[in-house]
Amino acid sequence: MTAQRSLQIISETFNNSRKEILRGSAKFFMLWGVLLTVISLVIYLLWHHTGKPDWNLLWFAMPVIGYPLAALIGKHNKAIPQNEVSKMLGNVWTVFGAFALTLSSIAVFLIPMHVTLIIVIIMGLAECMSGVLLKNWPIIIGGFLLGVGGAVFAMLVKGEAQLLIFTLGGVLLLVTGFIMKLQYK
């Protein structure tokens, strides 16, 4: 075996394995993207037609539905190992989830605060970080625009229309999943 052939084996197997792992991670982006899009639209429509903001409590259905489904995908993906990038992506979004869930709970049950503004900023940040980890400029820019544009939108728009920024966020997550599927084909 020549030195060139050895290096070719190393680079091919390493890259193919990396692609397989990141294609596996794409499924989680798609899952949360679909869930966020659907739930934000459902709450928007219910709030819009009834005039009651209480429908926002339905946000708590998101982790209730999402985590078991994510666990199911994880179980299905069990044969696929983790590398540094897939672990970091998981960590970034776990931290985002912890912040979002805790702050929403505090806002609903203890101290009222502008939850949309806070969550859209940290979501944009998490998306941006994902783009940095994946070395993908469209994802970085998408995350930046979601965070900054979403913050401005949240300050200017009142009522149920604010929820549409999360619909856009959901679509962005879905697109990120598709980009990853294509990038690591």
């Binding site: 075996m1 030195a3 060139q4 052939r5 050895s6 290096l7 084996i9 190393i10 680079s11 197997t13 390493f14 193919n16 394995s17 990396r18 397989e20 792992i21 069990k78 044969a79 696929i80 190992p81 983790q82 590398n83 672990k87």
Partner: protein, 96 residues
């Protein structure tokens, strides 16, 4: 004088297995088989050789009711792999 290439790593399948394991925490047998494009028998033999050299650690367990073999690169394996890559680079530079 060029460094001698590690004979344990200087084999297509063993090198492929080590390249996969160098980039992940651990990988199971079926994943290695698929990624390396190997047969179960051949892969088992090569995994035994890498284990005997102390380059990988193998753990046998169960996934539900199915047996599951998990492989992980050891510190010695990672060092040997890095040395092997460095040696290859030297060979390639000299041949330019």
């Amino acid at each position: 004088m060029f460094p001698k290439l590690d004979p344990i790593l200087h084999s297509e399948l063993r090198l492929a297995v080590m390249s996969i394991l160098a980039g992940v925490d651990e990988a199971d047998f079926t994943y290695l088989k698929k990624q390396a494009g190997a047969t179960s028998g051949n892969l088992s033999v090569q995994i035994d050789k890498l284990t005997a050299a102390g380059y990988i650690a193998v753990e046998k367990g169960f996934k539900g009711k199915m047996p599951r073999t998990t492989c992980k690169i050891t510190t010695a394996g990672q060092e040997a792999f890095n040395k092997y890559v460095d040696a290859l680079k030297e060979y390639l530079q000299a041949s330019k």
